[in-house]
Amino acid sequence: MKVAAVAVSPLARSQFAWLAALVLCAQLPLWPYVPLWVAVVGSGLVVARLAMPADRRIPERARRWLLPVLALAVGVGVRASYGYFLARDPCVAFLYALVGIKFMETRSPRDGVVVACLSLFLLLTQYFYGQTIVAAAISLPAVLVLGGTLAALRDAPAASARWHAPLLATARMLVQGVPLAALLFVLFPRLAGPLWGSPADTGARTGLSDRMEPGSISELSLSDAVAFRVDFFGPPPGPALRYWRGPVLSRFDGFEWTALPRLHGTRLPAERGPTVEYTVTMEANNRPWLFALEHAAGLPRAPITDVTEPVAPPQRSLAILTDDDQLFAATPVTQTLRYTQRSVLSDRFPARGERDVRENLQLPSGNPRSAAFAREMRERAGSDRAFVAAVLDWFRSEPFVYTLAPPLLEGNRVDAFLFDSRRGFCEHYAGAFVFLLRAAGIPARVVTGYQGGEINPDGGYLIVRDSDAHAWAEALIGGLWQRFDPTAAVAPSRVERGLGAALPQGEPVPYLARLDMTWLKSLRLHWDAVNYQWQRSVVGFNVQRQRDVLKDLGLGAAHPWQLVALVAALTVAWGTVLLALARVRRIRLDPASALWSRLCRRLARAGLPRRPSEGPLAYTGRAAERWPQSSAVLHRIGDAYAALRYGPRDGASDERIAALRELIAALPNTRRMRSPR
């Protein structure tokens, strides 16, 4: 009824300004993630509407078709830009433009509320593309502007009103709401997987893949993105020992190395010798594999929090260990994952038998020079082990160059690399090395993963970036799979000191992989330490972390309904505390009025309500006529109250109030008064 009356009133200029600020706050963080034309149209409409005089409105007839037509046009455009529509990113782009269009045709506070709600949702969508501290920081002002907008939509601010007053009021409400928000953040149940079908396009970033073609790892090496971070229990092993094993590639088609299509077996790793234990915090990469130092001596478990000594309680494993020593998670890592892992630092592990030999000797036809070269060298070496050493020596002595920018090769690529160009990145060396071994009849395969990593002095953890991606080889000799790194033969410093040391001057080494510890880089490392904490405690707060926190709070075994009751109780406590802080106490009437009201109620119950126009003297006079037996008391009550109420104030009012109370108490009770005379 009242809402409808308000709805037709047009928005004031100040209300438009607030609304535009809110829309822009929601739109701007999305600029890098939507097509340029969407950004220009969506935000341009807002600015254009704001530039229009407030009283010039779009005619009603145009208004009716403007929204649908513009929305349809943008929808078609988005479909054309992306090639599909029903997915996350096109929908975000469409919403981006839609908020602008809706703002354009907004004229009533009701439209304004619609725009505010759409903007609030749009604000959330930026987290699809990154949940950094910066993203969180720019959301805060947006929430304040949302409060200001709602306040402005409730009541158009006067021209004289200060613009920051609603922001301060919202900030106060925000601060008051923080305990509640924190409570919900910690206790609201998190899901392990998505509610509806796993969105195909979550996370644009992908790490290592399960295929390796020339250029795939060098491309990855150009990225500074963090693959995972590691906290070691105890001192971290040296750089040359830090081989983080990822996908194992056994198939070669002459161009590309790929993993076997099927994973074989689930084995329990055997404990051999001393182990290192560490906790890995992996960034989401939409891939199922987890990384462990070579070689895993256990299955990954949920992390042990806040302990310095590793303890091993029996826990659900997060992944399986395949026969070729890869860790496979049950589902792709779509959110930050933390696990504790144990490894034996060793470059060899036992083979699983016949199948290993069979699967790792296959070679496509082609590359005759390399095959002949390998066979001949094997003849000369006499034993497998000597042959491998000879091949590594050959890599070391021949003028091979380790570079991120090798020439493109055609035809027999291995031949061309080994005998002509001799310039390559780790994937070239690993691939060619395995080719030579297989040609000589030794089972061998390519192992990809990460090598090295950087210890962050500020926090004492290891950062492994995509630029640490690496490929090495593994050969089956004497029943043991043994690691060989031909890249180390060509560029030994790659393994010891990382990419920056191994590459020649002038190569496009990612900034953070360089060696010089400039102040800028040290600042970046500090920032990474802060980010790591952020990732661990806020962004990475998932099912697993929630379980840990509940356990720490002693709520590990609580039923869901107990948690719900807890949240409800704490919410009530929150409201009570806030109201108590605001000093909303029971407000008392002054005692004389309270006594008078009580008397009026009593007499009304007895059948003689006070008339609104009646003063105390007239009312008690009338009551005295009705109940003559109490007339003296009633008259005295009237006099006493009138004196208290209208007489001069003096010091004796407390005594007079007490006297009034006694007088009223002296009246007979209601039931006796009800049957007068």
């Binding site: 619609v114 987290y127 949940q131 909303v584 029971r586 009437l589």
Partner: protein
Amino acid sequence: MSTASAGSPLSRWRQRLWRLEAGDLGPVVLRHQRIYILPTRRGLAMIATLTTMLLTSMNYSLSLGFALTFMVAGVVASALLQTYRNLAGIVATPLAAGEAFAGGKLEFTLSFASVGSERRGIVVRARSGPPVAVGLPRGATRPVQLAVATRRRGQLALGRVTVSTDFPLALWRGWAYLHFPLSGLVYPAPEVPPAALPPGPDGFDAYRSARAVDAELAGLRDYQSGDPLNRIAWKAVARGSGWHTKQFEGSGGSGPLELAWTDLPPGLGVEARLARLCAWILAAEREARAFSLAIPGTALASGSGPAHCRRALTALALYRDADTA
């Protein structure tokens, strides 16, 4: 005898929830027992948006999405408390009921006092009548006039009054019911156009009387206490030339009128008679002529002045037909 607090527990509950009976005898302090809060349409829209955001955050495991959703939810919850605080501790007191002719607006006056903090965006509304906005600075007391439309003569109770607010963000609407036993009088609507006054006892003829309604100013005489306000020559007062009362041609010169139910044409209905009597009383009062009134059940001796006029009008307002009484 029926009173507000008597009756079964059920009816007591009904009274507590809806305040359908005029049970508030004195000043009322708005406390949590009386204050209701529900989300407005905007509040519902906001809650729906937050729910969507929550589902999205769950599906995509967006920790920051949860954080944002819960932050805004915290603001929404905090706004609820603010809405409550804006109402709690307001003291409402019934002050006065006015009078009106049927079809006009009857004005009731309540006073609202803010104990403690400043109150913003308070809206007071009688059951029928436009909402009235009240601003209450810290510790202030403000009278609020509620104009209620009238249709029929008689006693008109103010009825239940709603005090509401949607401060600060219009996401929540808080309200409380007040029901004071305040009632005003509605006089019959005067007949339009007014019939000519009946002839006075001294042969004062109807023609002159009818003209006297728009009589010419005859002159000024000295003010005597009791002269009606609308007869005072305010311009003269403003000029500083003393207090004078305007005298109109014919006024005061004729004898008292006798307004009697029985003298009216027999074909006239009850309400029509009352309307005509009302118009005559007003005309007599305007001309400052004494009149007496005789209607079934009531007889007023001849007299003049505002108090007499009000008594006469009250008698008309409260007239009960012998058949219906």
